[in-house]
Subunit: 202 residues, 2 copies
């Protein structure tokens, strides 16, 4: 019997998703689990939940921005606040689903790593068509095909369906994890996830 | 030279403050630090920051309530969601400051432990005058004097001044910590606080 996969929802524009995306595979592997990634748009879940980004509250903004970098460095990750933040990430997310469905979940995961790293360490604007095509090429993808995919209604609808499914599953932020039916929200639930995987419900 | 104290702000109605209140002393002591407690009213900081409690967002409510208990159990603490939550905590907070200023910071810390434990494990209504007097007596305090204190303008103003000072210091939630000028918000920043105390800025 195979242990159930860990569902992991993320948005490329979420710094805590960038951090969690880096540790989730190794953590899952240590406990004989696999990871099922879901690229979504946080804006859609914020809208459904009537929430806002933490940086949209003036008093929290300065703290949050400092905490992004501190949380990345805590995990030993390179980090640099992009000059433009937040950004719309639907095109990068559509590339994820295009790769997921036409190549493999691993190809999509590789893209997730590349896109997160590009935006959160070099400020590569995933919202800019030319920058995104260049990143796709740099990542070994067919850049023209990637651009065609993000403009294709098939992948637009695929992403929308994933957003809707995430909201239906109770996802209201990112990173968000579901493990054996137990929801965990936030990069800062790593220790709880580790204990859950190691010794079960607590 | 004595290492600087850790400032710790909390509200008795905050479940994550209850959890953090339990581990902060031992963590500080491991690193040769002391803790300076500040009882505040989260409502005042939420108002200043235009924020709301997580349980006030319908989609987050169920998750948040489950996470309260999970986060307490993660730290090995007894926990039971009070039948009435949240509650106004100004009287319990005024007792804290009355003890702090007329007895000692340690007496106030002892009260903080007692009041947190009473509300978060037995649902003792800190907002109810009779229940609060009974808890004060049970905690070895003069219950009549405690009641007189929470009705006294001196302690009302003391608490208000602490709320104002907290907001001025950038506190926008609880638990909130300030260590050597570095702010940490949330029970879930425990691991980052531990590293900061152990090896300095990162």
């Amino acid at each position: 019997m195979t242990a159930a996969a860990i569902d992991f929802w993320f948005d490329f524009s979420s710094p805590y998703s960038y951090v969690a995306n880096d540790w989730i595979d190794a953590l899952a592997a240590r406990h004989g689990r696999t990871v099922r990634r879901h690229a979504i748009l946080l804006g859609a879940t914020f809208q459904a939940a009537e929430l806002k980004s933490p940086v949209s509250y003036p008093i929290k903004r300065e703290y949050s921005i400092a905490d992004f970098g501190r949380s990345a460095r805590f995990e030993g990750l390179p980090y640099e606040l992009p000059a433009t933040f937040p950004i719309p990430t639907q095109n990068a997310a559509r590339i994820f689903w295009w790769l997921h469905d036409t190549a493999s979940p691993q190809a999509a995961a590789d893209w997730a790593h590349a896109a997160f790293r590009a935006y959160w360490t070099r400020g590569v604007l995933l919202s800019d068509a030319a920058a995104l095509k260049a990143l796709a090429a740099e990542s070994g993808l067919d850049a023209e095909a990637a651009e065609a995919a993000w403009n294709d209604v098939t992948w637009k609808q695929r992403l929308k369906a994933e957003n809707d499914a995430a909201i239906a599953d109770g996802v209201f932020g990112a990173p968000f994890f579901m493990i054996d039916g137990e929801p965990f929200w936030g990069n800062d639930r790593k220790a709880q996830i580790e204990r859950w995987l190691g010794s079960g419900p607590f």
